[in-house]
Structure formats: C-alpha cells, structure tokens
Symmetry: D2
Subunit: 363 residues, 4 copies
C-alpha cells in the first residue's frame, strides 16, 4: 500500500498560556555556552519569544544550544558559538522556562500499530518481513518526495552483489546523499580498478597476487590525478558506487579518520568540518539509511532530528540502522522516537533484498 506521512500534532499552546518567555543570555567566551543553557533533543521544541508566539527551529539536532537570531532560532554546536550569540537558558521542558519539548509529535491513533512495533526491541529473532515491505513503501515515496541519506561502512562494498545493488539504488534515484569514510571510497575504487577489496576478489574471494598493494595503488593513482572525478574522467573507474554518485552529482561527505591510508583527495581531514558538512547534508534528510558502521551511524544519529520541515509542514525523519549486532543497533534505536527502526542482518543481504524488492515494484 502506498506510504502516507503521519499528520503532525500541534502542541496545545493554550495549555501553556501562563508560561514565561524564553530567556536568552549572551556568549562571552567563544565556543562556550552561558550557565544553565538549554540543550536540544531530537524532538520538535518550541520557545516562547513573545506572548503566545512559540517558535520552533526549523533544523534541529540533539545536544546543541539554541541561538536567537532576530525572530529565528538556530540550533548550534557549542564549538560554533561566538561572543554575543544569545543562547536560550532553562532546563525545564514543559513550558515553565518558556521552552516546550514536544515528545509525541506524530503519535496519532492511526499510528498505534507502528507505535507499538517501533517500541519493540529488535533482536536477530524479531520478524522483519513487515519492515522490508514498509521500507519499500517508504523509499518509493521518498524517491519522489523526500531526501534519502545513506550512511555506509565499507562492508557494503566488500561483496560483489551488494556493491552492485547499492550502485543500482543510486542509479534508480533512491540515494540523495552519501555519508561515509575514506575506506568506502577507497575500496569501491579498488574494486573498480582491481576487482578486489583489501586484495581479495569481491566475487571469487581469491586473494590476488600482491593484492595488499591494491588499495594503496588505487589511492596513489587518484591522489596523482587530484580527485576521484579526474580518475573517472581518465577511465580508471568503470563502475561502482562512487562513480554513480559522481555521475548524478549526488552530495557526499567522506569524513577522515585516524585509520585512513591515503586518503582520497575529497576526504575532509578536520573532523569538525566533516561534522558540519555532514550536517549540511542531513539538514535535507527525510530518511536516513545507516548501515555497517558504528562510528558514522552514531555520528549521523546524533545530528539527525526526529522531524523536519518541508514545504511548510512538519514530518518525521525516518532512521533505519542495519547491522549484525544487537549492541550496535540498540545504541542507535534507543532514541525514544517512533521513527528509528533497526534491522538485524548482514548488510549484504539487506542491500540485495531491498534493491530487488524495489525493482520488482517498478514492474
């Protein structure tokens, strides 16, 4: 059945009629909030800026502070605070400080079933049939109406079929942003150049002679040419995820890490600049698909609110995490939000199954 967005429940502002105005204090030291600052959550939050005028920041994320810029509110990382920024102070969330955190924005009766399902803790023995079916509905909807961000660990391209499935998902329009690290790009280009990942053939699993040089050679070659795009233009990269991403000019961020060789020229070395770049992609996100990377998944989860404002209306941001380990997905799913969902399986199977399921729908 076609996917339908749940309606947004406006808070009952009448019930908050006695609340004071939200208070704001100035930043003195760069990167340091005033005492008693209010920290954001993943939920829609409202700040009473004038009597009866409750304003919500359009683009939030958790564990940040709220800076007033005239009549608008900006959700800002501590490190980006500048002297003079007016930061909201107050830690009570039910209006007493002029702040209202709206923890049940989409919890209508119609969503009771989902609500229940989402609250169930998932294990490898949970039934995931319905998740696949609902995911197909969602992704079809989002392809036309949303913005799907994929957060990917390198394991998604260590396998021939899942690398191909992911490439097709890009080509079919299901990928609007990509967040990953140097390893994803490196091994994807290694696969394009040498048919291997870390020296092992991605289909036959044969270890190639001198295969341990392959990823270093791929990196060295791209570094010589100056960019992945240049390598593609030189004909060195005939297939794969990064090629499909480049061909469609899909925004991507490769965040650097202390594990990196190379790195690829496009990698962002400063992790806070990388964080900013990632958040710029996530600001547009309506669905996030995070898989096979604890670091990037949690980093993205931290900067993804449970809602977004598109075309003037408020809708949920869906967040899927796919991993083999209950430990990892629990870290992500445990956000108290209807919109976080976990699937416990090997990402290889997940990608192949999902791409096939979506393709079948098109026919």
């Amino acid at each position: 059945m076609p996917f339908a967005l749940p309606a947004y429940n406006e808070p009952d502002f009448a019930a908050l009629s006695g609340a004071p105005l939200a208070r704001f204090e100035a930043v003195i030291t760069p990167g340091v909030a005033p005492d008693g600052y209010h920290a954001t959550t993943i939920f829609p939050e409202y700040f009473q800026l004038a009597p009866q005028r409750w304003i919500m920041p359009a683009q939030s994320r958790m564990d940040c502070v709220v800076v007033r810029r005239g009549d608008e509110l900006d959700v800002v990382e501590f490190r980006r605070l500048a002297p003079g920024d007016m930061v909201c102070v107050g830690r009570r969330e039910n209006g007493e400080d002029g702040i209202y955190v709206h923890t049940d924005p989409f919890g209508s009766i119609e969503n009771a079933r989902e609500k229940f399902a989402f609250r169930t803790r998932m294990t490898r023995e949970s039934s995931f049939s319905i998740d696949y079916d609902e995911l197909y509905d969602l992704l079809e909807f989002e392809r036309e109406n949303g913005f799907i961000v994929w957060v990917l660990g390198p394991a998604v391209i260590f396998d021939h079929d899942s690398r191909e499935a992911l490439t097709r998902l890009v080509e079919a329009g299901y990928v609007h942003g990509l967040l990953a690290g140097n390893a994803l790009a490196t091994h994807d280009l290694e696969a394009a150049m040498h048919s291997t990942a870390l020296g092992q053939e991605i289909y036959t699993r044969r270890t190639a002679a001198l295969g341990h040089y392959h990823h270093l050679d791929a990196l060295n070659e791209v570094r010589r040419l100056g960019s992945m795009r240049a390598a593609m233009e030189h004909g060195l990269v005939k297939n794969g995820v990064m090629r499909a991403i480049h061909e469609r000019n899909i925004p991507f961020v490769l965040a650097g890490s202390i594990r990196d060789d190379g790195p690829m020229p496009e990698v962002v070395a400063d992790c806070y600049k990388a964080q900013d770049a990632m958040r710029n992609v996530v600001r547009q996100a309506t669905t996030v698909m995070a898989m096979a990377t604890q670091l990037h998944s949690i980093a993205t989860g931290n900067m993804t609110p449970s809602y977004t404002v598109t075309g003037g209306s408020i809708r949920p941001v869906y967040f899927y995490s796919v991993d083999m380990s209950e430990f990892v997905v629990d870290k992500l799913a445990n956000r108290g939000s209807l919109s976080a969902r976990s699937i416990l399986t090997n990402v290889q199977d997940f990608l192949v199954t999902t791409e096939r399921g979506l393709r079948k729908r098109q026919h």
Copy 2:
C-alpha cells in the same frame, strides 16, 4: 554453471604395502571400548582387513569406534557397543596400525579455487555472493541427485516471509529430511493456528491478546488429537513447514530438550534415541543446511562425515551453517574439510534470498 561433483582421489595403497593388518579387540563391558580403540574422524578411513584389502566403512561419523562385522565395518557410538563386538584398536593414522585416514579425498587441482575459498575464515565482512550462486547450483543438483537435510532452529519460522520461503523450499523438492526440536514444530503450528510465534504476530509483530497462551494452546490441541498429522486432518493446520513436510512424507526428527513445553507427540524424549534417529536421516545426506541452532547444528555436524557413498561412488557431503555469530559458525566450520561452509547473516534473509534465487533459476 551446472554443478559437478569433484572426483574422488583413491589413496595410494601401493605406498602402504608394508602396513600390518588392522587389529580388533572384543568388547567386554557393554558400552565400553577396549583400550587403545581407534576413534573415527569425518574423513574416509581404510582398514586393512586382509593383505592388500583396505576396507572403508560406508557410513561413518566422527568420535565413534569401528566394529568389524564379517567383511564389513560399522561405525558405532560407544554407548551402542555390545559385549563381543570386535573394535578396531590403533591410533596411528598413516598405515602403521593398519589404519589409513584419508584427509584429502577430493583435493584435486581442479578444486584449487574452492580449496582456497573454503580455507578462508569467514566473518560478517566476507563476500558471500559466490556462496549463494554456488549454493543454487548445488541445491539444484541435489534436488535431483542428492539428499538435502535441513537442521533448523525456531527462528526460521518466527518471521512470516522466511516461514513461507521455507515452506516453498519443501514444496519445490529441496528438503529431503528435517532435523529440529520441539520449538520449531510448536511455533510453526502456533503460526498456522494463531498467526503468531510466542504470541507475537509473525507479520505485523503485534502482540496478540493472551498471546502467551498460543503456543501452549497449540501444543495442548495437538496432544489431545494425538499427533500433528491428526491435527492436520482436523483442518487445524492450514499452512507452514510441518504441514508441507507431512504432505510429502519427508522424514523428520524432533529431538526433545530440557527447554520444551508440551511436547508435541512426535518429539523423541530420549536424547540418544533422538541421536540415533537423526543419524539415520543423516546417513542418506549429501548436503546439510544447518541454521539458527547451535545445539542441533553441532549435534548434526558431529554425526555428519565429510563423504558418503552413493551408487557405489564416493562423493563429498556438503555442510552449510548459517548464523549471525562468528562464534557459532566457527565451531562448525572448523572441521578441516573442504565441504564445510559458513554464511554469516540472518536466517530470515538467507531463506528468502535462497528460495527466490532457486525459483528464478526454474524460469
């Protein structure tokens, strides 16, 4: 490409020309082997019964003893030894005791690739594309020419789609024997009667009202009628794995365990009788598919030799284990045999993907 059985390498008996005859000593105490007994492996083993006459038991399994019955050799569990049984003694395996253990029976040059692949330790990040493709080839071959035994934990039927996929695999002829426990049958019938497993709907994941009674009710109902077949004849079981198994008269063993409620009438309460019944099914096996059960998988692994004799020729027995945990599959795969292969994923995805892959081949 169609599957081809590897050829069997006969041992070089000429090189063993100076070897003594194998020695046999009589059992005195029931269930107790004579000192110095030879314990079997998963490999073909030859015993020199008369000069130049090296005899191999047709149906072996590891950690048992070899009993001579005239010119034939029987591989027997210690607990089945009877006074007077003549048990082979000797622990050297290269002929010095008249015993030759043939550890590389199918290792021809043609199998070099596979040999390599099989030796690689599998993790969740290994590439499994080729395993699926080779498995489809294998299962198509075995459907016509072999005997495929499935060893199943209850998780395979906790999910709607994987229960359906498994049912279809039975219906399509890919299941020739089934080894499981009480829980598999119980929750499969619970699903048929109530659409739930342990009270949770297997598609919607909704918790049914009084759902914790469902599996007890299913057990009680079948126990009242006397058998699962009777319940089917009464129209209580309209779908599922056990129904498909019964319709095709596929041999199955449900081994009892200390965790069981009920149990189903067909469950074998004595674990050693269950072991014997399982081995009787395994004696015919040419491929074993073990998934989502550590207990039954290891039990079956212990009684499955790496080879079997069919139609007078010797061929490998393939053994697949599918599980989420490296720890579990390593226990099974670490047998030093080319024919053991691990796939790390959720069995739900594995079954759905495998059934779809095989179905596609038929068209």
Copy 3:
C-alpha cells in the same frame, strides 16, 4: 553491607472481595489440559478455593497448569497431567476468574533503587561494579540461609583459573546444587585426568599429542568403572568441580543432549526426566547462577519462579545470568522480575573475580 531480604507485600485481598471462586475441570486425556486452562507465570499466584480463602502454590514455575489436590495446589507440567486431575481454568488474572497474579510482590519503596537498576537493560557497557558487590552480599547470605543452584556450560572449565575458582566455590559452601550437561562433567574429568579440555591444555593452551582422544578416553574409563564416583575412588580424578561436588554430596543433574559423546553414566538420557530432576533441585533454589549455556540457562529459567516459600515466609528467588552476548542474557533477563540480573562478561573472569571477592570477605 549485609544482605537483607525484601519484605513480601501481601496482596490486598479485601479489594478482591467480589471475586468468584476459582474453577477447576477434570483432565480427560493424559497429558492434556481442559480448554481454557490457566497457565502459570513466574509470579506468586492466588486461587480463591473458598470464600476469602486465597491459596498460593508453594512451588510454582511458568507455563504450567494448576492442579488442586484437596486444599493444596500443585503446579504441573502438561505432560504430567493424569485423567481426573482437577485443573484450574480461567485466564483473567485480576480476580475475575478467582485467580490473582501478584506481579509486584517485593516492590516496596525500600527497593526503589534496585527496582530501577533491575529495569535498566544491560549491555557490555553497563557498569557492573555494584552487581559484584551486591552479589558478594547475596552469596554470603545465601551460603548460610539459602540454596544456591549453579547452571553451567562447559566453558567454565575450559580455563585453568576459572575451573579452580569454581572448585573453591564448591569447597567454600557456595554451591548447593549443580545443573549441567554431559560436556561439563566430561571435560572436567578430562582436565583431572589429562590436564586438557578437548585436547588442549587448560593452562598452557598447548595441544596435546593425540589430545582429541582425551575426552573419549575419560568417558570410556568412567563408563568402564560404572560411575564418576567409582572413578574418584579409583584415584583417577584428583581435582576439579565434579570431585568437589561428589565429596560434599551436592545434588546435581547432568541432562543428556543430542551433542553428547559417551555419555557419563550419571547423565539422564530422557530430557523430560532430566527436566523433572532439574526442577526438583530448583524447587529448593533461592538463588540461581546461570552461566555460559543458553540451553540450560533458559531451561532453568523456565522452571524457576520469582519467589519461593522458606520457613513459612515468601522471599524472592534471585536469578543471575552471565554471558558474553547481549542476545543470550536478554532472553533470560526479560522476565519482568526484579530478581533477574545480567552480567555481560567472560565467565572465566566472572568466576575468578567472584571467588576472590568472596574469599577476601572471609578474612
């Protein structure tokens, strides 16, 4: 601080004054309950047998039925039902059917802290310091005043130090019952006879020559002598857990399984007889320590109520599960009972640390 048992909250029977008497119906078919039977939980349950007379079975377990024997109530497995047994029927648990399930029997204000702590889901990153300290308090108390049942997988004796720690715990009086399988006893005696487990030395980790024969030799030797006790009397078993158990005449059950070699003569082959024998030990339990065995831990968990009656008063039964995997301990801990607690670690470290912690207390 010394351990203190929480007080039992009597149900408010006055509030149930309008409730009907509990109804009982006769069993017709052996092993089959009447329709609408009431199934037990882990909680104290009361049945109104006469007006104002609410009777609780002294020894319950979950997923069984309640049989009236005069003025007493027996909690009985379905398979043990005999024709004529009067089984309680009714599925409403708040008195409407004359049945009251008391789900918060020890939830006094004083236990608020614990209550909270127990409800927190444990992962490998949870803080366990307090659990060790509280466990020392508990085990010291139970050594004098309770009955501690240990449920053990073979991994506890694969390591030299943990096998020694466990032996000391037996010797120091912290073990009053032992539930395990054939493998625990086999590898414990293998360690006593050969210093190995599955052929690998338990301290040096060296693989012994022909070490794969060690466990089979240990089994064969004990089977020849007829019992583990006989082997001990013959001087074959100079140390270890089973020796300490025998020296103190501690009740134990070794439940057979389809994985077993041998087995040891003491192993119970029929899994339902084993279940009965285990429950007979568990009936006395005030604390259960389950570790490194999914099968035995869950089996024991199923037959362990959350309370027991000792000396006329009602107290909790504490249930600890120790394992490396969130997946396993979640299965056990998720019982809705204050008295279930999980520790995620390697049982080797757990046993060594616990024995040392308790020993230090004695000085």
Copy 4:
C-alpha cells in the same frame, strides 16, 4: 617467572649475497609515491643501500613507503611525501629487489611454545589463565624497561571499579602513553564532576536528574577554563584517569571524531595531525594495550610495527587487544605476528583483574 625478551634473529645476509641494491625514485607530486613503490609491513625490513650494507629503518609501520635520507631510512605516510623525496621501489621481498622482509625475527626454538599459543585463534572459550600470568610478567618488566601505551575506548570509565583500577595503573607506573578520543576524557571528567557517565551514576547505575546535561556541562566548563589542566587547577577534577595522566605528565593524544560533542580543548581536530601525534607516541611503544575501541585500536594497530629498536637492540612490540567480540579482536590479531594477543572479555573485568594481579605481585 620474570619476563625475558626473546633474542633477535639476524637475517642471513650471506644468503642474499647476489641481491641488487635497493632502488629509489623521486617523488614528483606532493603526497604521491612513484609507481612500483615498496609498501612496508609490520616486520623488520632491510634495504641494501650499498654492497653488503643492509639497512633497517628504526621506526617502521605498515602500509607506508621508505624514504632515503642519506644513510638513513624513514618510513613515511603517503600524505607526507614531498617532491624530491627518494622512495624505495620494488615489490619482491626476498632480496631480488634489494629488499628483505624479515617475517620471523623472534621465532627461535625457545619460543616454540609461545609461537604455538599465539597462532591459536582465540574465542570466548579459549583459556586465558596463562595470558593474565604472562601479562603480569610483561607489564612488570615494561614498567621498568619499556614504554606501555594504552589505547582506550570510553567503556573503560563507564564503570566505577574499572575507572579506579585504570587510575591506579597510571599511578603505579604502568601507563606511559595514552591514546583515546574525546569521549574518554569527557566521561572521565563527567565522572569526576558528577559521579556519572552519560548521566548514569557509575557505581549505583541510578539515572541522575537532568543527567543528560552532565557531559555537556563538563565539556562547557572545561572549555570555559581553557584546558583540562586548568579545570584540575580549579579543583573541578578530584579523581580519575585524566587527572592521574596530567599529574604524571604522561603524553596523551585525544583524536577528534565526527561523533564528538564539545570537544575538550586538547582534542586534535585534524585526523591526520592526530594520526601523526599518535604515531609519535607509538614510536616509543614496547607494549600496546588496546581495549574497547575498534576505531582507535585498529588505527593504532596500523601504525605499530612488530618490533622496535631500543638501546641499539631489536625487540618485539607486544600488542594486546581486549574486547567482547571475536569479530573485533580478530581484525587486530590477524597480523601474522607472534606479538599480537587477544583476550575476549569485558574490559571492566580485565582492568580490575589486571590491576589486582599486578598489585599482588608487588607485595
């Protein structure tokens, strides 16, 4: 028994007498190696710079290139290559290209036992008694004679007892360098200031009121004061690991990551500068203890050679990884080096046990 360093086996250079001189080619593009560059391993490697003169770089690491600086050899990351740098080219490792990779530098007969033990793949069921004992020997030796680098995930300070054990290890002189991320420092200072980690008390596991503000408050406070040392001087940090590190002026690197809040002022934002800083600590390392962090452990593993030169002689660098997951430790242990060892357990228990074991030795 006291720890003794294994002797270094000099390669048999006489056997390499016909080998050519190593070749070097100039870097043209910054950060790009010439084609055919030789990539380093974790092993000692020798380069024939003049006839019969085989030179080994003193400080190596894997997946880098070798740059000749006069008569010395520097092992350099690709990204640090400058135009004109002379990079060794040649990929054959047995002398044919003037390059000799010495893969068995400490494999004397005396080490046969260890050699065996190290090759055994570790699982949660491996026996670890000997590892603890050998580790105590090693750490006692290294405290006086070596340089012990600890690589730590935040889980080590989520638990009261393990945080205390780790602090004591610093105080007792067993920690000479610390590599971690922002989270370790943040939650260690949160614990010092609020007795919580992520808002949960690290001993009682109680959730503190507004506890989710604690780590943000700790970060904000330190950022206001400008450094952790300043916070210590202001009396805000009365205990913990970072305080002990600062008191002893132990070198540490906190590498930034995209998951960070804050961050602490000392965090290195550029991941390649962080990598350089980490390697500067690792250059001195004789033993590395990596625990509960996949990212930092693998990053450190990549930059840690299997040997080091101290006082003119060549000795192994020992590398321990401690984690709950076979998947993680296998990634690290699978380096083909005698000196990598895995322990599968909860780091909390590991730290408490190790500190107690070492303390006991001192008495």
